[in-house]
């Protein structure tokens, strides 16, 4: 190809898709700036701003690692949201509060096991609603009480499944055929009800949960936070398990079939109500575990953590292509990565905006999302 050809094509791109051209230019500038920062080059610009600056490799890799952690949380929670969207045809706004449900129930169980005999049972089961034994006294960490952490994962999944299925039976099942909008509105109601029930039961205090003693260790020369490592292992295992379930098992294939074409699933003899229940069971379990792992990583719990996560989960799912679990995972990584790595350039009050900006930019050029059109439940 000729140089003039390249220039002509570039001109056409700028004229026809100015936003794309700006995005490409901005990405190139940020990449250069990042390289300059990593190399320690600083070029003063006007108004005290600089091009390049100081950024240690350690801080950079730390941000990327955080991006992966956050992305896994978004992706894991997003799988359930994406499945309920494709199989039940509505955007479930109570999904964030299912995440919170898993966090509280799971940590209640984990603290109870880890702190057995140390604190008052009510204090442990309600995840430290008031004063009492401190997190370090209870010792709920993967290092001090690995079994309690694993029991917590299981209880988080089971309890969230129970709550999700009950909400489906009471609220969504009677209005199954009413279409997406009434169900969406109903789910906002369910979200508020669930959130304030959780606040009523567990209290509104933001409190620490995990013990942080000896959680940071060195593995092969790298400093590793064992809680983050646990999160990564559990989340990736569950994602792989979901993949195999959907691709290999009869139930998984039926779920994909129903996501693909509900009417045909019905005339094919697939028991659609049972598939719907399975969707809530799997989606609820993953949401609950995502909430539990989120608290494992951040160390504190509050009744509205899931609600604040919900927008990011939606962003991840929409970015990835709603209806696809692979899209939810990919979208989670993109949103999580941008959310964390953008901290290099902008203060932490604005990084959420950066994540949503990327979502909008991707959707402008790929409205169906990254994995859109290849719905695989």
């Amino acid at each position: 190809m000729d140089v003039s050809d390249v220039i002509t094509r570039g001109k056409v791109t700028i004229r026809e898709q100015p936003l794309l051209a700006i995005a490409v230019l901005a990405t190139a500038l940020l990449a250069l700036d990042l390289l300059a920062r990593l190399a320690g080059i600083e070029v003063p610009l006007a108004g005290g701003r600089t091009f390049g600056g100081e950024l240690s490799m350690g801080r950079f890799s730390g941000l990327v690692w955080n991006g992966i952690i956050v992305g896994l949380i978004f992706g894991l929670a997003g799988i359930g949201l994406s499945m309920t969207y494709s199989i039940l045809n509505f955007a479930n706004f109570s999904h964030g509060d299912l995440v919170t449900t898993g966090a509280f129930t799971g940590w209640g169980a984990a603290l109870l096991v880890a702190g057995w005999g140390i604190g008052d049972i009510g204090h442990l089961l309600l995840v430290r609603p008031g004063s009492g034994a401190s997190p370090n006294e209870i010792g709920a960490s993967i290092v001090q009480a690995p079994l309690s952490i694993l029991i917590g994962v299981i209880i988080a999944a089971l309890a969230t499944v129970v709550v999700a299925v009950i909400i489906d039976r009471i609220v969504y099942k009677p209005m199954r055929d009413r279409g997406g909008i009434p169900l969406l509105i109903a789910s906002i109601g369910a979200a508020l009800a669930l959130r304030y029930i959780l606040q009523f039961v567990y209290g509104g205090r933001n409190r620490g949960v995990t013990s942080t003693q000896d959680v940071n260790t060195e593995i092969a020369g790298f400093s590793v936070n064992m809680h983050e490592l646990t999160l990564v292992i559990v989340a990736i295992s569950l994602m792989l398990a979901m993949h195999f379930m959907l691709q290999r098992t009869k139930l998984g294939k039926a779920m994909r079939a129903m996501a693909d074409n509900k009417d045909l699933a019905l005339v094919t003899g697939i028991p659609t109500e049972r598939v719907v229940t399975a969707t809530w069971v799997l989606g609820g379990a993953l949401a609950g575990v995502a909430g539990y792992l989120y608290v494992l990583e951040r160390g504190t719990i509050e009744f509205n953590i899931g609600w604040f996560l919900l927008l990011f989960i939606f962003a991840a799912v929409i970015l990835g292509g709603i209806g696809s679990i692979y899209g939810a995972i990919a979208g989670g990584f993109v949103i999580g990565f941008v959310h964390e790595v953008s901290l290099i350039w902008i203060p932490s009050d604005f990084n959420a905006a950066a994540a949503f900006l990327i979502m909008i930019l991707v959707l402008l050029y790929r409205p169906q999302g990254i994995f859109g059109g290849v719905t695989t439940a």
């Binding site: 009869k250 994909r256 079939a257 005339v267 094919t268 003899g269 697939i270 028991p271 659609t272």
Partner: protein, 264 residues
Amino acid sequence: MSTDEPESASDATLEESLKAETDPLAAVPDESILQVRNLDAGYGDLQILTDVMLDVGEGEYVTIVGPNGAGKSTLMKSVFGLTAHMGGTIEFQREPIQELPPEEIIHKGISYVPQNENIFGTLTVRENLEMGAYILDEVPEAQIEAVFERFPVLRERQDQKAGTMSGGQRQMVAMGRALMLDPDLLLLDEPSAGLAPDLVQEMFDRIDDINADGTAVLMVEQNAKTALRRCDRGYVLAQGENSYTDTGDRLLADDEVRQQFLGG
């Protein structure tokens, strides 16, 4: 209702004596596996079918023809439990099925191929066939093999996503899925819809083969002339009521049928 019965019965005898040659049930086989009697059905509160009678004999090939909006597809969906039942009976192998949902009707030995969106496009060809046998505990490998024998191209493309295939191949996937339970009665809603003209005859050949192997076929078809030429017997449906039934050839020869429903 009971007070009306003697009257309508005498009406029937009157009609019978008036046009003995076009007795609506003249060509019906003695042993029918599907018996639809005085069926009223529709969607929601909207009644579309009125007093419809229909029979399909064992291994018989029956076509329903009629103008657009006559209720042909509705009749077929009613047999499969997809409409609101408002009156009359549907018996399959002497059991009433008019109140059953589709997933139970499948268990009785009826399979249905809808007109549109009749495949799972994001599933592979093989997975589509597996879904056809969902109600069985095990994937029936022998039956998958039988479908591959019937449609060899599906064997070659078994791992391909069904949505990426051509119209004719999709129709094969749809029929293959419906044949997975080796049904006694196969319901086909416009199997030639959307197919290129040269594929239409091929599709009808396939249906002949399926029927020749002992599966009774009840089909709705736009391509009325071809369908009537091939089938054992046809029904003419108009405005939600059936007017005649006779062998396909005789319906084709009938001037009134030709002028009204087959475009001369």
